[in-house]
Subunit: 206 residues, 2 copies
């Protein structure tokens, strides 16, 4: 536990967290490694092995208690607090992100939304009001924001990324298809459904 998790283990634990959160919303109280496997496409043995590395969380013959397993995984991933993030872009995608429960469900709070279009300033989207783009650096500092989500066109993505980095953001979620140049201490996650689709199609076609 003193050691850092490997990338693979951390990624899988996050996915278990998602399944458990949803299963709880559906009213379930217990879940088996086999059920988690069906939702995640991760082998059931691997799931049990991942979990048993941190303790004996399950009951033989019964499965895992969802509430207590959620707590254990949150402890392991150190994700029990609230995290503030900034959203850049209040267009259709930005609005969709801001009004989705996906982030709030996991303790992630969209603390500020920025847009360069003066017509959008002041609009309420989700639970926040769109702010002047010039206030970005102050908001990042004041609200202790380390994550920025880019919901802007590819043509503006690099500019916005540069501004986020200058403001002190360390993790960028890029929803455009652009490639971003950032310093080595900044992590970029580019979401590209087309890439995932090509890869899913390969396995369908072969």
């Amino acid at each position: 536990m003193a050691d850092r998790l490997t990338v693979g283990v951390a990624a899988r634990l996050s996915r278990y967290l998602q399944v458990l959160t949803q299963a709880r919303k559906m009213g379930k109280q217990r879940i088996s490694s086999q059920e988690i496997a069906e939702y995640t496409n991760i082998n059931a043995t691997q799931i049990r092995r991942d979990l048993s590395a941190f303790g004996k969380f399950g009951k033989r013959g019964v499965g895992y208690n969802i509430d207590s397993l959620l707590g254990e995984i949150r402890k392991i991933l150190r994700t029990q607090g609230q995290h503030n993030i900034a959203l850049i872009g209040a267009g259709r995608l930005g609005q969709a992100i801001a009004s989705s429960p996906i982030f709030a469900e996991h303790g992630i709070n969209i603390a500020a939304v920025f847009d360069k279009d003066p017509a959008k300033i002041g609009d309420a989207i989700g639970n926040v009001v769109v702010s002047e783009y010039s206030g970005l650096a102050d908001a990042v500092r004041d609200k202790n924001i380390i994550v920025g989500v880019l919901a802007v066109p590819a043509s503006s993505a690099q500019f916005a990324a540069t501004d986020l980095v200058a403001a002190g953001v360390k993790i960028i979620f890029n929803y455009s298809e652009a490639l971003l140049e950032t310093p080595a201490d900044v992590t970029v996650h580019t979401s590209n459904p087309a890439v995932e689709l090509l890869y899913a199609l390969y396995f369908h076609l072969t």
Copy 2:
């Protein structure tokens, strides 16, 4: 080449495809394994190894020609044709997806959009017009659609997924946080930025 790719190799090749597509748009003609590594966070040796398993595509001292490497990877992934997909949900997220170039850039064509809201029928979003939900099964058959993208609230996601499966769709992209039950021959990809964020935060915090 007669063998099926492993999941890991296919996933990485898809990501190289994305980087090459964007690098070409930026006017580059050559790229090194080191440059691809910077954009993908995949080790440069691994990239060269992945590619050299299929042929000698690079030039020592020079790098890879982007156009020809694109062609080679498309051949390996068998993704040279056009693919028709169906989009369910013409709300903000659906509109954002339909008007993004991300799919078109990779030869994926949003061939039909459906919504249950009668007020949206007939609206143009992206290059398509929103159709009556009741036409889903016919469109899937007529347009040879095997991929469905769900841009609906979590509360409707299972219903829409069931309808897609009944219509013959084999790959579902789920943009809601809901867990979906599908037959074993249907693949579900759930996109959850919050899960990725938790995992990125772990590595930032440790």
